[in-house]
Subunit: 635 residues, 2 copies
């Protein structure tokens, strides 16, 4: 949705304005003025707007819902100042609170799209009474939208974040959204990155955040530009504001002329607000367009998927189809097989035996055949597959010109498959899940290794699981919405979007194949992650980094580790795996310097594999998924 | 149950022993020796006990379940030492852990009553892996009992408490109980008082906690005596132990002779263990016997009752009967009416009009008549009652000799009752709930005051609500057992037993009658409580303190404030009210010096009154009972 193209508030990336001078005008006129300058909606003061004649019938409910956000400022400006000066135990008057309650009720009555409430006071602390007012409003009116306005940046940046967190917790309601506000102080990148994992609905850009460039035009400092672009990417509404903390008008670096009587769609030189609007539009155009792949993935953004049960269920045709599209992955496999064939040339002139365990519809068979061609080696491929439906496809392909005489199809489970006396030089598998071992690759390959020659090669040869704490309010809310324990103890496959990685991923454990002995596939690890600022932990992100092959010819990896993600030949990232999200039952606020300590177990019994996890600092949490009660993968 | 009277572990206050020398004997022999010395059960090392011949068939399941507690010590002593020395990120071996898992499984197989696990290591910190082992055991085996052994006292006392809390939280299971252990260091009263609110199942008294008195007999220091008595009162099992942290034998101040081959029930001079046992029995006898009233209240201890809905429901006859038994309360009322009559004597010779609003079956009418007699004043009593069933009783009583001609029964709601032109000199009511205003006394009396003369008196004339943070693991677990939000947002009436008051109660608000204007009965307050040591907040205790009357003749109060509880003439405390328990959804661990900040609201609308509450420090919590969604009193 292009900026300013008469979208409404429910769409992404439209641009609104909040001007001090709107206080003197009826709401309908504010809307007309704003749209004339290119803006899509306005933010008006609820108290001003409900003053008698200022709310006129021309501004009907449809316009209110689409184009107007009300700001309930009374409690924040009047009552909070009084409370701030009062003794902690003094009973403060509830006059200011009542005014705010009335403001919010009036905004609801008028049909405003949302109501802004100021969460962070001058000292950055939050107010329990304000939170209570909002919690009650949301409890009583399911359709109401509250935007919690948080002034970020400056020396109180951390306090403002903590205030937002306390406010959201006090409301105990997933539907409170943040409107982050930037002024003269700007905000450091570290300061704003944590907001990527919060539920930010709007980005309020005050005119004092702008600087003037050499030509006298308003421009943003580089750090704020980066933030603005990120907000556009995340689909937040952008609001231009000339109001300071007290609602007074701010001086503009490029003063505008809202008094000139602009007509709708007029683009006159005299209207200086246009300069800001145009700058924002310019920034918006600078946000790189989404690739085709990114667009295809958009519906999966922040959507919780239950991981596959590859052993217990047979994959559907469409699932194979999706996986086979990932050229980057099969290129890596082809290269790994090629290197293994080249490095193994000393084994003589006999055709090398390549077994593809879990062949599916044959993509790895094709990769092996291509590899053999480029390595100038003869190979015989055994395609072992347990899914009888996929075996039909394989047997059909085995009659094709490319496969005939070179590929033998062996129906059956790789852990107990009869291939006669033949042993493989190379066993190739694609059993990895998002977290490496989470789709039972260790158990399956342990079973398949009896078919490998001594000194033979497994592709992959090893894979490591990585994990990192994340801020991901939306993911947590989605899991919590089920209102049961089970969904808070299940790892999900998720295309991360509104997710902030709090610390670098750390290695949890590693599996290697083939293995001499058969040690336990159980694992346990204690990991500590440092934090440098207040930040919320909603759970953990799981990734894998696999070594497909390492030998004289070189090394081939396959990884979704964010700092090492495998890219395809056209520069597209490999897309077969989204990361894993491990939720925790209660989000945890870590303050600067707190360590986040995670204890993670991979457990296995005769029938299943599962994970258990536990956060022991900064706040002790419960053990999750005890004995696999909520989530397990059947063996 | 007298100490040592061959009770079994399921009963309160029996006494067990854990002797180092038991390690060399079969379990059945340990039991025989212990009972011969007067003890009721033994604690034996699971690893020792399962060594081949040491577990013999004679010790059958019934004996195991009734008289044996196993101690799984392996993880604590071996593996934990290794882990303590390991780097935080080093993957520690799971040998010790597996040993512990086997110990616990073996204790379960053998049918032991419970398994002790050591929670606090040498450095007082808890171990996530140990917690995970226990959490899994409890999840998989509903009937298993785990006693988490925590060494209290000494410089690590606070660490041990925090370790227990983390352990209990990690297990996320209400059925983990604590066995607190006292050794040479003893423990301060402040240190042990917090355990009164925890789920303590056993009290392990190590022989090095004893001193020798002038006659060479083992005795406990005064502070430990007080703790031991408290443990007897709370029904904890007492265990005498001569084992140190590593399971080695401790030197005894009065060395015993367990090697002497005592026969069952033999009470020989030679068996010195008897000296300790006798001292414990002496302490037990020193615990004051429960009064008749305390025994009557025993079934209500820590039992959650939903508060009455006095306006919406009519009380049952049995409820009236219970309330009328409380002589101390009616004595206070009688005295208050007497003083009011005496002080009001200047009003002339006319009979004073006393209106009893909410007369029930007439106890306040009787109190007023008794007061008039001792004040030598004539009175006319109007008995106003809305419950038609109680009115039948009142009308019957009005024909009695005592009442005839002096009492007029007026059926109806005091807020809209037609008593003609007559106005009261004194209005008497007993509408107070545990928290003062929680049964709608303010709303009812506001309605009744139109019947009061100018300058007339209301008894009570004012009442104040008090609130304090408490540790009350059992109460919290009982509310949480319903597994719904509603029960975590409801205040309960509870006879406190295993409850620790963290800080002095503070005043929340006060109501006075009669009032000139009719201001709002809504209230809100922000309260801060200081903590001096690590302690857990499971919610808040609510009390009232009422001023029935204050005048020239004196002052009469009626209070359940713990520091000001009204006592009856025989020294029995007034028992009509148990305190109110306000739960919070998640228990909060406050560390030393943390402030516990509570925000509390009394809210009223046209149909109902309700409370909302919110804890904002040390950890931000959610607003409870928003808009009265889970609990309200109908008007």
């Amino acid at each position: 949705m292009p900026l300013g193209a008469r979208c409404d508030l429910r769409d992404a990336a439209c641009c609104g304005c909040e001007f001090a001078r709107f206080a003197d005008e009826p709401t309908s006129r504010c809307v007309a003025r704003a749209t004339a300058s290119g803006f899509d909606f306005v933010v008006v003061d609820a108290r001003d707007a409900r003053r008698g004649s200022r709310f006129d019938a021309r501004c009907d409910v449809a316009v209110m819902e689409r184009m107007v956000v009300m700001r309930a400022s009374a409690f924040a400006t009047e009552a909070l100042k009084r409370i701030a000066n009062a003794n902690a135990n003094e009973r403060t008057s509830d006059v200011g609170e009542r005014g705010m309650v009335e403001d919010i009720a009036w905004a609801r009555h008028a049909g405003a799209h949302a109501t802004c409430v100021d969460v962070s006071r001058g000292d950055g602390r939050y107010n329990a009474r304000l939170a209570a007012v909002v919690a009650r409003e949301l409890e009583a009116n399911a359709h109401v939208k509250i935007w919690a306005r948080v002034k970020v940046g400056g020396v109180r940046d951390d306090d403002a974040y903590v205030a937002w967190r306390a406010f959201a917790k006090a409301c105990a309601n997933a539907d409170v959204r943040a409107a982050i506000e930037i002024g003269r102080d700007g905000v450091s990148e570290e300061g704003w990155r944590r907001w990527r994992g919060e539920r930010v609905v709007a980005f309020v850009l005050r005119v004092d955040a702008f600087r003037t460039n050499a030509k006298g035009y308003p421009v943003l400092p580089r750090a704020t530009q980066a933030l603005a672009k990120e907000m556009f990417r995340l689909g937040a509404q952008v609001i231009l504001s000339d109001r300071d903390d007290d609602g007074d008008e701010l001086a503009c670096v490029a003063p505008w002329d809202v008094d000139s009587d602009v007509k709708e769609n007029e683009d006159g030189e005299g209207n200086r607000t246009r300069l800001y609007w145009e700058y924002l539009a310019y920034l918006f155009r600078g946000v790189e367009a989404s690739s085709e792949q990114a667009l295809a993935e958009a519906p999966y953004r922040d959507y919780l998927q239950i991981p596959l049960q590859p052993l217990m269920d047979n994959l559907e045709n469409v699932t194979y189809e999706t996986f086979e599209k990932d050229a980057s992955k099969y290129n890596q496999y082809e290269e790994a097989v090629r290197m293994a064939l080249v490095d193994g040339a000393r084994q003589g002139d006999e055709a090398a035996v390549v077994m593809v365990v879990g062949a599916g519809r044959g993509p790895l068979v094709n990769a092996a055949l291509r590899a053999a061609k480029s390595a100038h080696r003869d190979i015989t491929v055994y395609a072992i597959e347990k899914n009888p439906h996929a075996v039909v496809t394989l047997q059909h392909l085995a009659q094709s010109d490319e496969w005939r005489g070179r590929v033998r199809v062996c129906p059956g489970d790789m852990r107990a498959c009869d291939v006669g006396d033949v042993k493989a030089d190379i066993i190739v598998s694609e059993l990895l899940g998002s977290f490496g071992d989470n789709e039972l690759s260790p158990e399956c390959l342990d079973g398949a290794m009896s078919m490998l020659k001594d000194g033979g090669v497994s592709i992959p040869s090893e894979y490591e699981s990585f994990i990192a704490p994340i801020t991901a309010a939306k993911l947590h809310a989605s899991a919590a919405a089920y209102k049961d324990l089970e969904h808070m103890e299940t790892p999900y496959v998720v295309r991360f979007h509104r997710v902030h990685e709090i610390a670098e991923p750390k290695s949890a454990w590693k599996f290697s194949h083939p293995r001499k002995q058969q040690p336990s596939n159980e694992r346990q690890v204690d990991l500590e992650f440092e934090t440098t600022q207040p930040v919320t932990v909603h759970g953990f992100a799981g990734y894998f980094d696999a070594l497909l092959y390492a030998g004289n010819s070189g090394t081939v990896r396959c990884s979704i580790h964010p700092h090492n993600h495998t890219m395809g030949p056209t520069g597209e990232p490999m897309f077969s795996w989204f990361p894993l999200y491990f939720p925790i039952r209660e989000p945890v606020l870590a303050v600067a310097g707190d360590r986040v300590t995670l204890h993670l177990w991979r457990r296995v019994d005769a029938h299943k594999m599962w994970y258990e996890w536990l956060v022991s600092s900064p706040v002790q949490g419960p053990l999750h998924n005890i004995n696999g009660r909520s989530y397990r993968i059947g063996l």
